[in-house]
């Protein structure tokens, strides 16, 4: 029987109950951020204070799981200290690794905390082994989180050519264009993920219900209009329906979610070190369910990869909690290169 290393399951936590839900349902590692712009899910009321973070880290460590802190936005010029302080506190709190995207911060962490494990965040947009090996050589990163723009063959090629551990996304909403480097949100609102830590911030979002319809607007711009039986999604500009040459359709990208269950055995065979679940903005119920299903799937793969069968209930549950109308394999199985 073939045996492969089962990747670490890395799950999101927007708060303490979500962190505990992830740990209790079988996450090997949890990732989280502070209550400020230093992470890419800077939403009102979300994330951790120093106290809740230290409680969360203790909870994970007591159960033999790892705690990862995301400091994955780009410092605002003149306020670099806020980001450096986040790294200082990560080290003080005893996290197992920090997720960074900015080269200046990688340098700071590498120089001041040589013991601290560094992961290159997906926001760092390293998509080739040359880029990854460069960051590894300069800052000693231990792991890279690959952007969701690569095919499975490209992921495998990177793994063959780098000493750095590779983490890929397994489930969640998709940010389709270059992982938050896109400026669509800034175009509409003046704020984007890598500047203010959120795409399409809630203060610019309006849902309007009228008989038979629901419209969503971002800073006044009509993004989409759903009939009563259509599934809804977040109002990111990239996932809107627009009129182009007299036709109204999803001109940039369909509002779909990623779910790799169908190709999980192939992903494991590439030798990835970790599989990540997106969704720090989601509630404990979501985290519990996704974690439980992926844990069961990975455990099944660990027992017998050739005999792996997807439980139909997993598929149905994951489809129900996903954003948008469809679930896809994202770029993993795109025919183009």
């Amino acid at each position: 029987m073939e045996h492969y290393r089962i990747p670490e399951l890395v799950c999101p936590a927007g708060g303490l109950p979500a962190l505990k839900a992830a740990v209790d349902n079988g996450a090997d590692a949890v990732y989280f951020g502070c209550k400020n712009e230093t992470n890419a899910r800077n939403f009102a009321g979300l994330n951790f204070t120093r106290e809740t973070m230290s409680e969360g880290i203790a909870y994970a460590h007591a159960r033999g799981r790892r705690a990862l802190m995301a400091i994955n936005t780009f410092p605002v010029p003149g306020r670099e200290n806020d980001w450096r302080e986040a790294i200082d506190s990560a080290s003080g709190l005893g996290v197992d690794a920090v997720l960074l995207a900015d080269i200046g911060l990688l340098d700071y962490a590498h120089e001041h905390y040589p013991e601290l494990s560094l992961h290159l965040s997906v926001q760092g947009s390293a998509t080739s082994h040359e880029a990854i090996n460069f960051i590894h050589r300069e800052f000693g990163i231990k792991r890279v989180v690959l952007p969701r723009v690569l095919t499975l063959a490209q992921v495998a090629q990177i793994i063959r050519n780098t000493p750095v551990e590779v983490e890929v996304f397994g489930f969640g909403s998709l940010c389709v264009m270059n992982e938050g480097r896109c400026w669509l949100s800034s175009y509409a609102t003046g704020e984007s993920p890598n500047t203010a830590g959120a795409c399409s911030p809630a203060k610019f979002v309006k849902w309007e219900k009228s008989p038979g319809w629901m419209s969503t607007r971002l800073n006044g711009i009509l993004i989409d209009r759903y009939t009563d039986d259509e599934r809804a999604g977040y109002p990111a500009l990239c996932k809107g329906r627009f009129e182009v040459n007299g036709e109204t359709y999803y001109a940039l990208e369909e509002p779909v979610s990623l779910n790799v269950l169908e190709i999980l055995p192939d992903i494991v065979k590439t030798g990835v070190s970790a599989i990540k679940v997106e969704g720090r903005q989601r509630s404990p119920a979501y985290v519990a369910l996704v974690t439980r299903i992926l844990r069961a799937a990975l455990d099944a793969l660990g027992r017998d990869i050739a005999g792996f069968r997807i439980d139909p209930a997993w598929r149905a549950d994951l489809a129900r909690i996903s954003e948008g109308a469809q679930i896809t394999l994202g770029a993993y199985n795109r025919p183009w290169r």
Binding site: L16, A44, G45, S283, E323
Partner: protein, 155 residues
Amino acid sequence: MREFRFFPLSTFRLPGFVPAVTRRLPQWPPAVALTVALNAMIRLGVLPKENLDPLEGRTFLVEVLDAGSRISFAFRNGAFFPAASGMPDLIFRANLSAFLRLVARRDDPDTLFFNRELFVEGDTELGLVVKNTLDAIEWPKIPEFAAWPIVRCRV
């Protein structure tokens, strides 16, 4: 994580005559019960006070569609009060079963929203604060006496 299991929570819808009946009842008793429960949660430290600052001076409407009941309340000077109906800052609308699945953490608000079972209108950022505040609550800390009014006031 311990879940609340008052009764099995599947998707159901109250019979059509229920709204006709409840609409004739005053909206105050459920609003009183809900605000008493919320204030008890503040006192017990279950609802973290500092997270509630953004709610100051805002009014909310929770409408249970299939029960035909509307609960208006406001947050002023650090406490919840039943509010006279007016223009709320934030409206949550859903059938009873969706609200129950939400409170029991069986479903998350985004899931219900994507599935069009939960409607949110008004100030979206305020909605996010409310959602994230609810998500940050460690339910097992709530003693039964504080939880009961929440369960009972829903219809």
